[in-house]
Symmetry: C2
Subunit: 205 residues, 2 copies
């Protein structure tokens, strides 16, 4: 059976999104048939204008309204503590905690030899340059994910940062996000690697 072309085009577009298979794509498209045209217009325009109306901050590489971004512009934040994350969404998650008052550096990826993503393919060079020219840096927090690629990236970064530190009198701290049991988790269901990290990182209580 042939679907109307307009519907088929929309289903195809949805299908290319991550985590959306043919069935969900069809369900979403049929759902949109019942929504007001005003919503369709604003949704469609939002898709078309997404990249046109955002820029990448030339300091931290976060997606932003302006360059530099609001965080890099913010004089209230400690520009000497840089938290390195893989993706803008990671930054957003950390911001939601309302606990971090430093600035960020978004790598836009992680080192992944299997997909031939090396250090040159992600924003590591600009991070190194950013640190090299700033002798006041206090701390670099490596907040890449704790999977294989994120760990590899953190290890690579650590090596590079140690090199910079060796040439400095006032050294900056290099830290990594704490690992252990997620809040609310049961020991029973935790995997061994997590439990091992939780033991290693146990704190006086």
């Amino acid at each position: 059976m042939r679907l109307p072309k307009a519907l088929e085009e929309l289903i195809n577009s949805f299908e290319q999104l991550p985590g959306i298979g043919p069935k969900t794509a069809a369900r979403l498209s049929f759902y949109l048939l019942h929504t007001p045209q005003g919503y369709l217009d604003s949704f469609g325009q939002a898709v078309i204008n997404l990249k046109k109306n955002t820029v990448e901050c030339s300091f931290c590489h976060n997606v932003a309204q302006s360059d530099p971004c609001l965080i890099c512009q913010d004089k209230q934040r400690n520009q000497k503590i840089i938290c390195v994350v893989e993706q803008p969404m990671d930054l957003l998650s950390i911001e939601r905690t309302n606990q971090f008052r430093g600035v960020y550096h978004v790598l836009h990826g992680a080192i992944n030899p299997l997909q031939s993503i090396g250090p040159e393919e992600i924003n590591i060079d600009s991070l190194i340059r950013r640190i090299e020219v700033d002798y006041g840096i206090e701390e670099i927090i490596l907040a890449t994910n704790s999977g294989m690629e994120g760990e590899a990236t953190a290890m690579y970064l650590k090596r590079e940062l140690v090199k910079i530190n060796q040439e400095r009198k006032s050294k900056f701290r290099i830290s990594r996000m704490g690992q252990g049991l997620p809040v609310g988790a049961d020991l029973e269901y935790a995997d061994e690697a997590t439990l091992r990290q939780a033991l290693e990182g146990r704190r006086s209580y």
Copy 2:
């Protein structure tokens, strides 16, 4: 933290889709930041033009490229057997079986007293009229869903159809989709209502 306006608008649009929460909406929007503008343009245009470039078939109420739709126009199909479904997606599912060569009637909903959707709110009137003027009708297949609303709709329709049949010499058949175990299912995991239907609807073998 304030997100760029363009990104926030897109996240809001995604969030209004069924089954897409705030996290998925953000994930999809951030994903789109890394896609080519050409894809964004065609996706956005597909959303905007969805309703402009589709029509509702005035016979079966399916979404279509033309009115009447390709199925209602098709002389190869048996126009005397009408399969009644709730939604266009249900029609699509039946078409995929390649087994039904009749035509359809899409109700665009089901009777649902809790949401004050009565028989007048869905395309029942037009179905009744369609049958009343056509004395050659051979069969009406009630293929509404087998949940509460679908059953209520099927029961309501049956009553109305029986009334029409009583005034006719050559009566049409009224049927309902078979119920029982889905193909590939284990008895162990089947619910009681399904097992009861499977027993009742058992076939000689």
